[in-house]
Symmetry: C2
Subunit: 347 residues, 2 copies
């Protein structure tokens, strides 16, 4: 018997974190008798008087949203990170170590319309979201020299902890580089120093040559299931041109990004004919920290669903205590996503 | 204003992994409008004819469980890891790297009784589970020299991906050391080389002196909320005597472990008056790999609930992409758990 990663249990290296992922290709045959999620597919109204994100409505801190007509950003009323945190450190024999962290948390409404999600928005409207992300990124990094990292992300669906279906994402900007981007920074730098080239540019070449894990490609971006994907339908969008952050995108790149975002999220919705839940977000170079020529902008999508709209993958005991583990191969997932229509199932 | 970790957002160092955790003490005030889990508190029968774990019943592969009367172990019918995996490697320019992994996955029924859970079992019966864990650990490590790591764990509750409420845990033994224990191994070794002492012995001294995060203590074990806990009510059980693995426990230590396991899980059930879901598991030294004098046995509990039986903490967008983050402090969580009764709420 020859080792074959379509069939045999194995580990794959995540080159962005340097950590391994377990893959059990044969395990999809397992019957599922566990938790079944509820799905709410009832259409939402365009405006919901009880939604604190809809235009004109009052938020929990008493402030009133303007009658906004495009994407709209404001500071989170329940921010995890605060600007006025005093600086300080605790260190007890190196065993108890704590250090203060400052930050700003922003909420980004993608649209005034309560009933839409990214795949249902016009490409032009998604471009406007990208423009707002750029404006926020610029404001946060230039007005606050203490900000070192800006995390742009979206939690979509209540199964991903999203407490309001109004289309929105978040930005958490903070005074240090958090764990995951820090791991990636180490890997980017190592590769760049050894090869004078971006790690993700080299990786993209290999993927474009094989096509096995590629889902979508346009002039400026590629969407694919990474070789080391953990979540069943995890994907990554990589810019063909190596840029350090979203501010560097040209108008043509912005349009291409809006297009691939729309197409990828349409495929996601079509997979199980449901509004597909995920957490997604960009990884970008640290800010206010000099050049980071090693960094390469990309965007991760971590969706929990495994078999249907109601059965998700649980990252629990073994995964939390030992090692992330997946049940279908990235190649199988990529084929499924690639074969899906670019027309949204709701028409 | 002075920095104070009861009030101000900060990061804490997990000395076992070397990674930071974000803490937002002020964030508990956030109203929750998101997903509410369903709870099934209906009592279960002592025997369920449709349960594939109950004594005498037929499993999905056709085999029949014996009429077992104590804890009972068998090989998982849908094992993630297989013994007969052929060896092999794939490496494409260091960008695509995969390597075969062999393993054995076991299921451990804690009791023949379908209706029980650990907190409801007699101390003596929990001791029998510990004895079976020892037997399994010994068999797996001595009969298979290729096995390097043995993960003993339990997923409890459907919210933690457990597909059968019959009290049971799992053991995944495999040919390499997975990511999380590997991180701990690095930290243990570093501390041991620098201090000629176990990292967790040193940590335990600090915690026992302060008492702030300690929940339970007996002659041989301490249960506490670690300073760097990620999950709202995360705890760790640490053995007072530094041992590398479960085989080294004396009879007295086994009884003490059974006692603290029962008491901790009773407190958990009492917290929200529900059968408290969690993933729990031991971290132990690698096997068939020489001495590991740096290692110190311990057991983690990762429970998802945050505010009630139905509202859990979501480790999603920011947490997946950037950094684990928690909303109440470990000290607040420890105080709540410490103050709870040692009598199970069901009497
Ligand atoms: O093996 P089980 O109980 O069927 O499955 C459960 O535990 C496993 C190990 O943590 C996970 O990989 C699965 O996602 C989870 O549903
Ligand atoms: O900020 P929200 O949307 O209220 O909260 C959601 O996203 C946050 C960032 O990933 C998480 O910390 C919360 O657990 C989750 O419920």
């Amino acid at each position: 018997m020859e080792f074959n990663f379509d069939e045999h249990p194995h580990k794959r290296l995540n080159i962005l974190t340097g950590e391994w992922v377990m893959v059990s290709p044969h395990r999809t045959k397992r019957p599922w008798q566990g938790k079944v999620e509820t799905v709410n597919n009832t259409p939402r109204p365009q405006y919901d008087a009880s939604c604190y994100l809809c235009p004109g409505n009052t938020r929990s801190d008493g402030s009133v949203n303007p009658a906004y007509t495009g994407p709209y950003a404001f500071t989170n009323d329940f921010s995890s990170l605060l600007q006025d945190t005093p600086e300080g450190k605790v260190n007890k024999s190196d065993l108890l170590q704590a250090t203060s962290e400052r930050g700003i948390c922003r909420v980004i409404c993608f649209s005034p319309r309560h009933d839409l999600t990214l795949p249902q928005m016009e490409v032009k409207a998604i471009e406007d979201v990208i423009t707002l992300w750029q404006t926020e990124f610029k404001d946060l990094s230039t007005s606050h020299s203490w900000i070192k990292h800006i995390q742009i992300f979206e939690n979509k669906g209540d199964v991903m902890g999203c407490s309001n279906p109004h289309p929105h994402g978040q930005i958490w900007a903070q005074s240090s580089v958090p764990v995951e981007p820090a791991k990636e920074g180490v890997q980017f730098l190592k590769y760049y120093q050894e090869n004078k080239k971006s790690l993700l540019s080299a990786y993209l070449e290999v993927e474009l040559e094989s096509q096995e894990r590629v889902i979508l490609e346009n002039e400026h971006f590629v969407a694919l299931v990474p070789f080391w994907a953990v979540w069943p339908y995890e994907t990554i969008i990589i810019s063909k041109r190596q840029v350090q952050n979203i501010l560097e995108f040209t108008e043509a790149e912005k349009t291409a990004l809006a297009e691939i975002l729309k197409q990828l999220t349409i495929k996601y919705d079509n997979l199980f004919e449901t509004s597909f839940p995920y957490s997604a977000g960009m990884h970008q170079a640290p800010v206010n920290d000099g050049d980071h020529l090693e960094w390469h902008w990309h965007m991760h999508f971590y969706p929990p669903l495994l078999r249907s709209a109601t059965v998700k993958k649980f990252m629990v005991g073994y995964e939390m205590l030992a090692n992330p583990q997946r049940d279908i191969t990235p190649e199988q997932a990529a084929k499924k996503l690639r074969d899906l229509s670019l027309v949204h199932y709701l028409g």
